[in-house]
Symmetry: C2
Subunit: 339 residues, 2 copies
């Protein structure tokens, strides 16, 4: 790319990601071994505490202000018959989030999480990627920037989720473009299409990749040509969280596909991210493996809308409660392990 194009600012940002706070990590490890339990007995909860401190650049780690950010967009590729629900459902579900009726609302209430919903020009679906690039570079860069702005104001931990009829096809296209393989390996039932629908999804992905094949070496080009608004915004939010020292919980297949764009630009870009869960959408497990992320939960969920990330936020809260609240062997008068 030549200088001055909108993606250049993002490329520059990708080169200036802050690293881990090793001092905060060391403080977490130092405290962990004093707590009244055998070393390592809390398993991944212990890793979570250290991870959150490391990427918050702060000790003790905290999750009092955890926010679920849900980005919603519409997709031209639904014209290819890839979705089980009509496109109007994207806006209807946004209204449902706003009135408190969706699954993610209930999980947020259960775990005292904040919820922010961002509509991304739902009345302007992206272009059908089997015909043309989904977004112009300008639109894509602006949407990434919008995603970055969206989390301004801050939170302790950010959960990233999405809503967008048709967007598991988009996630499959991105995954296939970024990591190779056959389209069939990356598509699945999504919200519940049948075998024919899955074939239409694979076919759309195949045609999209063929159309854009000369531009797929650049992850940001992959994002704008095959991606969508909510995926661009999620990528922006993940970047902004890194710059603001906010660890991220990535939700399902679609959110992970957005993250994968950043991973391909530089694998360390996702070092502040945990995979919240492994979705029932078959390709999610494979995509997580490509990113080297082991999910915290595997509950057969496949809803998107940040619901899996919100579930994982409950785990994070309990992990930090243990780390920050437990007594030490000394303070509790508990004998240590025999030599």
């Amino acid at each position: 790319m030549t200088s001055g194009l909108p993606f250049d600012d993002i490329r520059a940002l990708l080169k200036s990601m802050p690293g881990p706070d090793l001092e905060a990590a060391a403080k977490a490890r130092t405290r962990e071994v004093t707590l009244t339990k055998p070393p390592g007995a809390l398993g991944r909860l212990e890793h979570i505490s250290e991870f959150i401190a490391t990427w918050q650049h702060h000790y003790p780690p905290r999750a009092d202000r955890t926010v679920v950010a849900v980005f919603a967009g519409n997709h031209g590729v639904v014209a290819q018959g890839v979705a089980a629900y009509p496109q109007a459902v994207t806006a209807q579900m946004v209204a449902n989030f706003q009135s408190g009726g969706a699954a993610v609302n209930q999980i947020c209430k259960a775990y005292d999480l904040g919820l922010k919903v961002f509509e991304l020009a739902l009345e302007q679906p992206t272009t059908d990627f089997t015909q043309e690039a989904a977004l112009s570079e300008k639109d894509c860069a602006a949407t990434i920037a919008y995603g970055m702005e969206a989390i301004a104001g801050g939170c302790d931990v950010l959960c990233i989720g999405e809503m967008g009829i048709g967007n598991t096809t988009v996630a499959a296209a991105l995954s296939c473009a970024l990591f190779g393989g056959e389209p069939e390996e990356w598509v699945g039932p999504g919200t519940g299409v049948d075998e024919d629908g899955i074939k239409r999804k694979a076919d759309a992905v195949r045609r999209g990749l063929a159309l854009h094949k000369d531009h797929l070496n650049d992850p940001l080009e992959v994002l704008r040509r095959l991606g969508g608004r909510e995926l661009s915004a999620m990528a922006g939010a993940i970047l902004a969280a890194r710059l603001q020292n906010i660890p991220v919980l990535i939700d399902g297949y679609v959110a992970t596909a957005a993250a994968a764009v950043l991973f391909k630009a530089d694998p360390h870009t996702l070092d502040h991210c945990l995979a919240a869960h492994c979705s029932a959408e078959p390709a999610h497990k494979k995509l997580l493996a490509k990113l080297g992320k082991e999910p915290l939960l595997e509950l057969g969920m496949r809803l998107g809308e940040g619901s899996g990330a919100a579930m994982a936020a409950g785990i994070v809260k309990a992990a930090l409660a243990c780390h920050n609240g437990m007594a030490s062997f000394e303070s509790a008068g508990v004998s240590k392990k025999e030599a």
Copy 2:
């Protein structure tokens, strides 16, 4: 066994377990499909809602009063060098639970769960099972009855956990007696013994099984000869919960071994129980498979004290919040799946 012995009352109880409430289950399924999500999209959360309603014999399912019951006991078999910590730690950890310093306290606080701790004659460890039966039939039956009483007063959901230095060896002995195989398949590091310690554990189990070999066809005999007070009480609590329509979340390896005694008496005895998590203690996965239980969580935890069950209680709370709180397609004005 001849009539009139203390175990007879328990055997009678085991034959009078209430079955599932199929009407409550049907109500849960009927509501589930009206909620604003693709059918099945919440995965195991949907099963949890139906399960809780089924075994609460009540619709809607509820988890407002969820209690973690931790049973603590001491074990004569620690004389065989099977534990990494001195026996005094059992009482010290009970004091830590009571003063709020343990991991389970923090998790309970994070998820608004009640915590009840029951000390079982900590100053009277069971007899070393490599020498004699751990408990007399009278003691064992009385402790089962104590466990049954312990949950009187009621709760919506019961989490079962334990504390007892040496009790992973006891769990291994029970598991090996109930399900066969070599002692080496059922022992592990527990709170952190080294390779030699693991060998001592396997050796103790082998000698225990040899000593009691003529009495291991009867699960209750297995419990009293190789088990312990906290395991007997946990078995009682699981039984009483069934009789009181309280679904149970079973914690780690030791709690699962107590449950396994009931399973061997009658597999349906555990129909109201969910496996909260799969512990890092290697034999736990195998034991859960014997019981046909798929754990909700797998976070590498191996602490006992109800900590894994308490984590799973957080999942249950969110599951019920979704089931009970979500809007329906109709009420939210969301279009249903296209035909």
